[in-house]
């Protein structure tokens, strides 16, 4: 019996690395600490009622952001481990398999469990408030999306200590990810962690598309919407059209692994390149899914802190839509070397270059918005200016990569690594951090400390160039991606060492941000007005943090920058506040079903990962049962009485 248990656990738990044991201890200690604190202060009920069962988009947004920042930490630690390994030649800090696992989890986590949830967090925080809505179109589904993401991420991260992490790269290319080459549960963790959270992402795409199309405040025409909302609309259309492809493709990979199928195997006449085509049909639009909202954030920030209407609103909208359409037709530029032939490569090369045009339009529009504006160098504005420089470099090297014949030289070299970090860190991360600081007062009612934030910005910004500019050169010197070590004779040592220093500078930037958040919770400047930045859009017209019904009275918003125009009117001496009659507000009730259902998905996913059929059955029955239970729930809404609205509003210093 003892032997059996020992046998099982040696395969089940990851063993052999002192770092893993350290992590095991840390995980157990942190879990115990959380349980202790919750019990000691009797917070279990609070946690369940206020957070785990909530359908409030603002709370869901906050939970997304907390999870994303934790994942940023984990992905960042992965990055620092890699850079430590590569700092000098012939290091034995990580062995080759461990290195493979780390670059795989770094990529997967940063895109799917950091960028996506951070983006969804900002969607949730800002979009309903910007369009004057009281919630999203489907609050229940919104909670389902979050918990699916949460349990998907949990499943994926478990691979760190149980069963072993995936190690076939962030897109898990076959045949390497097939059974003959990756027989352990690692790739199954990959498939199910991502697919469970991917179902949630698809649902979010549908949810916000309908929210934006159907729930705007009266008077707000599409062409009067804030640009962030426009960018979310474009991003949601991309999510709807690409995530299903991703889900189906990973399911096919799993059929190969679990049922012995031959979609992408080398035997049985399978075709691995089919996977690579399909995965990039999702994968390329995916980078636009995350970068379009980034553009939206910059558009808000630039207009607010230049005190000007955004330059070229219509061309901004048009370019967003154009980018999202063209992004469907560029996927093959990820594998020009496949051998598809000159005509196919030419098509994808030209489509890729064409995307630079609408992107360039946006860059010029931001610059022209700043031109002759009264620019305030607040933290979000600093990130925006940092972004413009960084993204232009990333865009230019992107056009270099899009030239198919030249790509044969750059393909999978460090030049590519430097390019996409230039766009993803310089574009996406900078934007989401700007957005986080920008909307932070709306979420929590206080501002983030300026001094610490500026330190963080400079460490990130300088660290970025120190880390990635040398990598362009390393690419030209022949260093390919995913190398776990190299010899002195290559001459790559100095540049790699510099690059590692840059990575640690960014790590210091992250520490500054952590300190900034903790410091600001105690000492942050309170936002008593609800409009700390002298904002332009409707989210700044309500108190901070927003009451749970958002708007006591749904605003009439016939103009672009609706709140700015309202403020102008209010300054008019003849302005008289219209007397409005409050009405009871219709709200959805909290429910535990999203949490429980996603938990059953987690059980099923774990069963699929270890191919334990009994567990799969238990999990899927649980999913079906909770869905049925929801379908039979008819009493799912309530009204907030007028008295309560009046009390809440006057407690926040608003006269109704």
């Amino acid at each position: 019996m003892w032997e059996k248990i020992k046998d099982f656990s040696s395969g089940f738990f990851v063993t052999g690395e002192p770092m893993i044991y350290g992590a095991d201890v840390a995980i157990v200690l942190v879990s115990l600490a959380i349980v202790y604190v919750l019990t000691r202060y009797k917070k279990w009920g609070w946690l369940w009622r206020e957070w785990l069962t909530t359908v409030d988009h603002k709370k869901i947004g906050i939970m997304y952001i907390i999870a994303a920042l934790l994942m940023l930490f984990r992905g960042g630690v992965d990055a620092l481990l890699m850079r430590t390994q590569l700092a000098l030649p012939n290091q034995h800090f990580l062995d080759s398999n461990h290195y493979n696992e780390i670059f795989t989890t770094h990529g997967t986590i940063m895109i799917l469990f950091m960028a996506m949830p951070l983006m969804f967090g900002l969607f949730n925080i800002a979009v309903p408030l910007q369009i004057g809505a009281r919630d999203v179109a489907y609050p229940f589904l919104n909670a389902v999306s979050f918990w699916m993401f949460f349990f998907g991420a949990l499943l994926f991260n478990l691979s760190f200590v149980i069963g072993g992490s995936p190690n076939a790269g962030w897109l898990s290319y076959p045949p390497l990810s097939e059974i003959p080459y990756s027989s352990g549960p690692g790739q199954n963790f990959y498939v199910w962690g991502i697919n469970i959270s991917g179902i949630g992402s698809t649902a979010t795409g549908i949810n916000f598309l309908v929210t934006i199309l159907k729930m705007r405040a009266p008077g707000m025409k599409l062409m009067k919407m804030p640009l962030f909302t426009w960018s979310v609309l474009a991003s949601c259309i991309l999510i709807i059209f690409t995530f299903p492809v991703f889900t189906a493709t990973l399911a096919m990979l799993y059929i190969d692994r679990f049922l012995g199928g031959h979609f992408f195997t080398m035997t049985g006449a399978g075709n691995p390149m089919m996977y690579i085509n399909l995965i990039w049909m999702w994968g390329h639009p995916e980078v636009y899914i995350v970068v379009l909202p980034a553009f939206g954030i910059f558009s808000e920030v630039v207009a607010t802190f230049s005190k000007k209407k955004i330059f070229g609103y219509k061309s901004m909208v048009f370019s967003l839509i154009l980018i999202s359409v063209i992004s469907y037709f560029t996927w093959a530029h990820h594998f020009f070397t496949m051998g598809a032939g000159a005509d196919v490569n030419t098509f994808f090369a030209i489509a890729t270059m064409a995307i630079a045009i609408p992107t360039g339009v946006k860059i010029f529009n931001w610059l022209f918005t700043m031109y002759k504006g009264r620019i305030e160098f607040s933290q979000p504005m600093l990130w925006t200016i940092g972004f413009i420089v960084c993204f232009v470099i990333g865009g230019a090297t992107g056009v270099m990569l899009s030239i198919a014949p030249a790509d044969y030289q750059y393909h999978n070299s460090y030049f590519l690594i430097a390019h996409f970090h230039n766009t993803l860190i310089g574009g996406v991360v900078f934007a989401y951090l700007a957005g986080l600081i920008y909307w932070w007062p709306k979420m929590f009612g206080f501002k983030l400390n300026d001094r610490l934030g500026k330190w963080a910005f400079w460490f990130w910004n300088i660290g970025f160039y120190v880390c990635f500019l040398p990598q362009y050169a390393l690419g030209f010197m022949g260093m390919t991606r995913r190398l776990y070590t190299y010899g002195w004779d290559r001459g790559w040592a100095p540049l790699n060492f510099v690059s590692t220093i840059g990575a640690f500078l960014m790590g210091i930037g992250f520490i500054f941000q952590a300190v900034q958040i903790i410091y600001s919770i105690k000492h942050g400047e309170k936002d008593t007005t609800g409009d700390p930045w002298n904002g332009r859009t409707l989210e700044w017209s309500i108190p901070s943090p927003a009451p749970h019904y958002n708007f006591a009275v749904v605003p009439y918003a016939p103009e672009q920058d609706a709140w700015w125009e309202m403020k102008k009117k209010m300054q008019d001496p003849d302005y008289k506040k219209e007397k409005v009659e409050l009405e009871p507000i219709h709200m959805p009730k909290n429910t535990g079903i999203p949490f429980i259902m996603s938990f059953f998905w987690f059980i099923a996913g774990f069963g699929f990962t270890f191919e334990w059929v009994w567990m799969i059955v238990v999990g899927l029955i649980g999913v079906a049962a909770t869905m049925f239970a929801r379908s039979f729930q008819y009493d799912d809404d309530y009204y907030i009485p007028v008295e309560e609205i009046k009390e809440t509003e006057s407690a926040m210093g608003r006269v109704v």
């Binding site: 489907y138 309908v210 059209f241 979609f263 399909l278």
Partner: protein, 199 residues
């Protein structure tokens, strides 16, 4: 006063319910893309038969034609259930839904029998890339039909419990959409997989 509040409540609920129908249309777009991906993969792999049989050797058109006939009829009967809904006749809705469920079950039964026969002949999901793509595509459709059957059973119970109201009407509309969608997908499967397979 009271009636004003209830009428306003109905108005709120109606608005939310119509939003849900919109959302379901978009969900169908995503489901369509899942099938699109599986169709594309099938098209690429259709001649990758390795050492296994080709479609011509294993497809039996008579069984498949019956499946097609049954599923198309079930689409018609689910449409009749919708007509009964517009007339407000609960009993008729339930009857037509039961007929639809029975037809759906016979469709799934025939499909399972077809699959079992193929496996008996040695044509399994792990025989060749073609068969993997075939079983996945057709099986995914069959799984959708099976889920639809469970869903309809749940709806019939709700109709007994709650009768016809804004919510049950929306649920009936949505499952109607779903069922017709599966019918359309099947027409493509019948044409591209089976008819083109035996030609």
């Amino acid at each position: 006063m009271m009636s004003a509040i209830t009428s306003q409540h109905d108005h709120h609920v109606e608005e939310l319910e119509s939003l849900k129908v919109t959302g379901f249309w978009i969900f169908l777009v995503t489901d369509c893309l899942i099938f699109g991906t599986l169709f594309a993969t099938y098209a690429v792999l259709v001649n990758h038969i390795a050492n296994g049989p080709s479609g011509k050797e294993i497809f039996e058109l008579s069984g498949v034609t019956w499946e097609t006939f049954i599923l198309l009829t079930s689409s018609f009967t689910s449409g009749l259930a919708m007509l009964a809904m517009h007339k407000g006749n609960k009993k008729q809705i339930i009857n037509w839904l039961i007929v639809t469920i029975l037809l759906g079950m016979s469709f799934v039964g025939l499909e399972v029998r077809e699959f079992a026969q193929m496996v008996d002949e040695g044509a399994t999901i792990s025989t060749s890339a073609f068969l993997t793509a075939f079983f996945t595509l057709v099986g995914t459709h069959g799984l959708h039909v099976s889920l639809g059957i469970l869903w309809m059973i749940g709806l019939i119970i709700q109709l007994f419990q709650r009768g016809l109201n804004v919510k049950t009407k929306r649920k009936l509309t949505v499952i109607g959409l779903y069922w017709h969608f599966l019918d359309v997908v099947w027409i493509f499967i019948f044409t591209i997989v089976y008819l083109m397979g035996v030609m």
